[in-house]
């Protein structure tokens, strides 16, 4: 059973809603990759409405239209109208249920449809116990198609009530006498209702069950894909972390350590030097100390920019832009403070994009960094006027950025092609 209430489908579904029944009926039989594995989940709302409509069609035809026809043409007795008296309110309830579903009020819709359906099914069985088979199936249908859309506790309660309801109908059939007025009615019509009603409801149930199973298979497939992607992303992040440690070791070894070692040699020389050499060696040593300080400051800044800690993105990004090797135009609006992981991911995303623009953009490349934020989302876009590149040849840096954004629940979109610049957009949900 579903663990949460149903949500409306995402906006902008590629397939029009009018095709949903066709897609869903096909998907009821098999989850076809040609149709797209996500269609069943994408059309969750339509699925509910489709099954509810089928249920409505049954009640409207067999519960209202048929009794009225019977009354008018074949068996003019008020007793026949009892079916319509039960069927008509049930149709109204189903219509209201459909309306509630369209308003997104699934919980109310499902409760209304299930409760009225139980009552109507019992009443019809009382009016004509011969319809037990049809009515038992009718009593089951709403619970089966509503089950994926309700919390498991309510689903369990509805299932138990349905079972009790079917049991009650069976007992009523067993112990209530069949009224004379039913016995004298046109038997062919009764037979027709049973012969058509039982297969129709059985088929309806099977379609629902198959569709639920297809949705489950699709979800499992998507979960497996997601798990595989997460595993690959985790491996890439670990590799990137190792690479970063190697880079730090290399930077320390090739930078500050080399300066300090040379300094050590010079001091050793100065210790034993004649006075005229002494000053020159100290000057050299002093230069190396300066170089070491600059190197260590640069390294520390690269590990984690101090401005990002103290002032967040709104202060760190202008400094990053000012230090970039290409001209950068900044347009930062609504930026606040965010979790450290979010700020770091977006900062390094921007840093990587600026480095790429400087390295690969070509001469006269300019960059525009745009950040827009509100209570829900933070969007950061870095656009350059450089050469662009084939998206298939994306480098490790941007792959790492994609993983890093993904790890904090965000997404990175890279829009580029040879000859038309590069636009990198990072979006992070800041409402959670």
């Amino acid at each position: 059973m579903a663990s949460s209430e149903m949500k409306p489908p995402p906006a902008g579904a590629a397939m029009p809603s009018w095709r949903a029944p066709q897609v869903l009926l096909t998907a009821a039989v098999r989850s076809s990759s040609l149709l797209g594995h996500d269609l069943i989940n994408r059309f969750r709302a339509e699925r509910y409405e489709l099954f509810l409509s089928g249920h409505f069609a049954l009640w409207a035809s067999a519960g209202v239209v048929l009794p009225l026809l019977e009354y008018v043409f074949w068996y003019r007795t008020p007793y026949v109208l009892l079916f319509a008296a039960v069927g008509a309110p049930q149709c109204v309830a189903l219509a209201i249920g459909l309306r509630l579903a369209r308003l997104g009020r699934y919980s109310q819709s499902i409760s209304l449809v299930c409760i009225t359906n139980w009552i109507s099914a019992v009443l019809v069985t009382v009016v004509n116990p011969n319809f037990l088979a049809v009515m038992a199936l009718v009593a089951i249908v709403p619970v089966v198609f509503a089950e994926p859309y309700i919390r498991w506790q309510r689903g369990l309660a509805f299932t138990v009530i349905t079972a009790v309801c079917v049991l009650a109908m069976a007992l009523l059939t067993r112990f209530l006498p069949i009224p004379d007025v039913v016995q004298h009615g046109p038997r062919w019509l009764e037979t027709l209702v049973i012969v058509v009603g039982v297969p129709f409801n059985a088929f309806h149930l099977l379609v629902i069950v198959w569709n639920n199973a297809a949705a489950l298979r699709t979800s499992e497939g998507q979960l497996a894909d997601r798990a595989a992607e997460l595993g690959a992303s985790r491996t890439r992040l670990t590799t990137a972390a190792d690479e970063e440690r190697r880079r730090l070791e290399r930077d320390l070894h090739d930078g500050a350590q080399q300066h300090l070692v040379a300094l050590s040699v010079l001091i050793g020389l100065a210790r034993n030097a004649e006075h005229d050499r002494y000053q020159a060696l100290l000057m050299e040593a002093s230069d190396l100390v300066e170089a070491s300080i600059v190197e260590i400051r640069r390294l520390a800044h690269g590990i984690y920019p101090p401005l990002l800690v103290s002032g967040g993105l709104s202060e760190a990004l202008p400094t990053l832009a000012a230090r970039a090797a290409v001209p950068v135009h900044l347009d930062l609006r609504g930026l606040g403070r965010y979790p450290t992981s979010t700020e770091a991911a977006l900062y390094y995303c921007c840093s990587e994009a600026l480095q790429n623009a400087a390295k690969h953009g070509g001469p006269d490349t300019a960059v525009t960094v745009t950040a827009h934020a509100n209570d829900q989302m933070l969007n950061l876009a870095i656009s350059d006027t450089g050469r662009g590149f084939d998206p298939a040849t994306i480098g490790h840096g941007l792959i790492n950025m994609t993983d890093r954004l993904s790890a904090i629940g965000g997404a990175l979109v890279i829009d580029t092609a040879p000859g038309r610049g590069t636009r990198i957009t990072a979006a992070v949900d800041t409402s959670v």
Binding site: H253, D254, Q257, Q258, H259, V261, A262, L263, S264, V265, L266, G268, L269, N272, A273, R277, L281, E284, L288, A291
Partner: protein, 136 residues
């Protein structure tokens, strides 16, 4: 072996001087080595370069007695450069250097033809003289 020739690239060199080539991508350490050699009467800087590739090219044709070779350099690296220089000039003494301890150095350093390993921070006129004398 102490020669009394002029270095081909760096102007006149005093007679009987040991000519030293420094191969290191770090300019700071090349300066420190130059200062060390400057403080020695019988050693002289014969030349310097930044990569293993240029060292192989220059030292094969040039004149030197000792090559102070940094192990970690971009490109070929010091160990491979030492191997190629030793193959071309077995008479040359190659001293490998780095800032790592000896146990952190690749085992390939042992059989590349280098005569000694020198921790960079221990570079001094005295140690250089002793290495040279020991090898001769």
């Amino acid at each position: 072996m102490v020669r009394g020739k002029h270095a081909w690239h760096a102007g006149p060199v005093a007679d009987e001087c040991v000519r030293v080539w420094v191969v290191d991508d770090q300019p700071g350490f090349r300066r420190a080595t130059a200062a060390t050699l400057d403080a020695m009467d019988d050693f002289v800087m014969a030349g310097e370069c930044e990569t293993g590739e240029s060292a192989v090219e220059l030292i094969r044709d040039g004149d030197a007695d000792i090559v102070l070779m940094d192990i970690h350099m971009p490109g070929m690296g010091g160990i491979e450069a030492a191997r190629q220089i030793h193959a071309a000039r077995p008479d040359l003494m190659v001293v490998l250097m780095s800032t790592y301890d000896l146990e952190d150095i690749s085992a390939a350093a042992a059989d590349c033809g280098a005569a000694a390993y020198l921790h960079k921070e221990r570079l001094s006129p005295d140690l250089l003289s002793r290495i040279w004398r020991a090898a001769r």
